[in-house]
């Protein structure tokens, strides 16, 4: 295909990217604004960031959110990968259609529906089994449910393109299927596992609606605290907090992207060398 990049296309692309980024850049600029009145520029300050560090409510919520995100994304990667393997490798088993439906539905299901239905499950379970109490556990379970859907889709597409002949060769040479999978296919899908862990982590860190439904009194995640602060009105320290989170997550994503591309290039290079040698 020729690289005919018409001016119209170029304008459309630049406009779209500008729409995506301008609000974020303005927000970061505001977070250094000394004037608490948003319309005025009162000079440069880092006062809101210092205020943030001393805000106990925000710090506790951030800690809870991080704990939830680490647990939820780790479990989600395990479950989601198993689901992806099931769907790609086992073409026929009872419940396959059900599993396909259940891993794809959370991608589009409105959060309010997922949130309220899961809450009602937890409440009914608590009545019958005296478990789980609303709070950390229920938030983690709810997050695992929707994160594993994203993991499955990511790993599934990677697994589909993975070359199976190497794995089959290993099995022909007497390796067990499990060992062949662990030693050959796992390294190939590793980038997908890492990126889906990161994706789950950020999705969990960001979730407001589902967490609000399933959490109990006393367990407020960071988005819940931010939401209630924003609802009350503009407070400059939310700008600082938001800028901090956006830069942190953005930096991690870009860093991970670069690392993964480098690893991928390395792997391709080794494959080429092996083929030549």
């Amino acid at each position: 295909m020729e690289r005919r990049f018409s001016p119209v296309l170029f304008c459309a692309l630049s406009f779209g990217i500008a729409v995506l980024y301008i609000p974020i850049l303005v927000l970061i600029a505001y977070s250094f604004n000394a004037s608490p009145l948003v319309s005025l520029w009162g000079g440069f300050t880092t006062e809101w960031y210092t205020k943030l560090i001393h805000n106990r409510q925000v710090l506790e919520a951030a800690l809870l959110s991080l704990e939830v995100a680490v647990c939820a994304s780790t479990v989600a990667v395990m479950l989601g990968t198993l689901a992806a393997i099931s769907l790609v490798r086992f073409t026929r088993f009872p419940g396959r259609l059900l599993l396909t439906g259940m891993v794809n539905a959370p991608l589009v299901m409105p959060e309010v529906i997922t949130g309220i239905t899961q809450l009602l499950l937890f409440v009914s379970m608590l009545q019958m089994l005296s478990w789980p109490h609303r709070g950390f556990t229920t938030i983690v379970i709810a997050h695992v449910a929707f994160c594993s859907a994203y993991v499955t889709v990511t790993v599934q597409s990677r697994l589909q393109t993975a070359d199976r002949s190497l794995e089959e060769a290993a099995m022909d040479l007497g390796s067990s299927p499990a060992r062949a999978f662990l030693e050959i296919t796992l390294p190939i899908i590793a980038p997908a596992l890492i990126s889906s862990w990161l994706l789950s982590f950020t999705l969990s860190l960001d979730d407001l609606v589902i967490s609000s439904f399933v959490s109990g009194p006393g367990a407020s995640t960071l988005p819940m605290v931010i939401y209630s602060k924003v609802k009350l009105g503009v407070s400059p320290d939310v700008n600082a907090l938001a800028s901090l989170i956006i830069c942190l997550v953005g930096g991690c994503v870009i860093g991970a992207g670069i690392l993964m591309r480098r690893a991928e290039r390395q792997r391709l290079l080794e494959v080429q060398q092996a083929e030549r040698g």
Binding site: L9, L13, S86, F90, P106, I113, L120, L205, Y227
Partner: protein, 296 residues
């Protein structure tokens, strides 16, 4: 293919299957059950449907009152229609914006492509809630748009965007644009370039080739992207709550208020179940195209 014959495969299939059945599917059954109950001043705040009476009989009390209430109270019908309309037009605008973007990316060189994709995906990774909040900083009465327009003398007093339908539209388009671009790109990237060349060789003008070749081939992407925007947008809560005014009642917000404001769990459940039925068609459509795309 030896893996397939082993019973050990159930060790792989069962954990995700059971987890999702228990924590994703069964919750809908509970929501349905509770939508047939009535509110009660206790914890949890609804009546039991099945009770065991003192004389050892099971007593079943089902109430369709919540669903009747949804049909008679105008708020719900209004909110459903408003949500559907808002989501529909936002999806169209996202498509109009996203298609040229995806097309441009698919035409770029491989190295530019990965950078452009990262630029599109990055906002998707950063917080949804925070991006909606960031948008508020732009469109508020004393936000950057009004400041600039006032300074340039285009307007004499601030235009109100916040708490109007326009703000809700802007919010949805801004937040969901990447969801439209990515699936579109995925299909446009796989587009067979030789077909376009053949069309050009046969004397077809570029716009004609686009309509006859590119557009039909990218249809799965158009549908997947549209559903990825439309379905969550119908149920959107954060955007109408933070950017919209009291008139911009979307169904997600009604459900939230019913639950957190009125503590009416049975009505909130009925809203969720009715809502799910409305969305069943679009969700099935999405699943069909999505699975086809994944397994292609």
């Amino acid at each position: 293919m030896r893996l397939i014959e082993r019973p050990g495969r159930w060790l792989i299939i069962l954990p995700p299957l059971l987890f999702l059945i228990v924590f994703f599917l069964i919750p809908f059954a509970f929501a349905f059950k509770i939508s047939l109950a009535e509110t009660a001043p206790r914890v949890p705040p609804f009546t039991d449907i099945l009770t065991h009476t003192a004389d050892h009989h099971w007593h079943l009390s089902i109430s369709l009152g919540n669903y009747r209430y949804l049909l008679t109270d105008e708020v719900y019908g209004y909110a459903y229609l408003y949500s559907l309309r808002t989501a529909f037009f936002s999806t169209l605008i996202c498509l109009a914006l996203g298609y040229p973007m995806a097309y441009a990316i698919s035409r770029a060189s491989k190295s530019t492509q990965s950078i452009l994709l990262l630029i599109i995906i990055l906002p998707f990774w950063t917080s949804f809630l925070l991006r909606v909040y960031a948008l508020e900083g732009i469109i508020r009465d004393n936000g950057i748009i009004n400041i600039l327009l006032l300074r340039w003398g285009i307007i004499s007093h601030p235009i109100q965007i916040m708490r109007t339908s326009l703000a809700v539209y802007l919010g949805i388009i801004y937040s969901y644009l990447p969801f439209m671009v990515l699936p579109l790109f995925a299909t446009l990237e796989k587009l067979d370039g030789t077909l376009l060349e053949a069309a050009a060789d046969l004397g077809s003008p570029p716009w004609r080739a686009f309509l006859d070749v590119t557009l039909p081939q990218s249809l799965p992407g158009v549908i997947a992207g549209s559903m990825l925007v439309f379905i969550p947008a119908v149920g959107e809560f954060v955007i109408p709550s933070l950017l919209g005014g009291p008139d911009n009642l979307m169904i997600g917000r009604v459900l939230w208020d019913e639950f957190f404001g009125n503590h009416d769990w049975p009505v909130a459940s009925a809203v969720a179940i009715a809502f799910l039925f409305l969305l069943a068609g679009p969700i099935a459509l999405y699943q069909y195209y999505h699975v086809k795309q994944l397994e292609a």
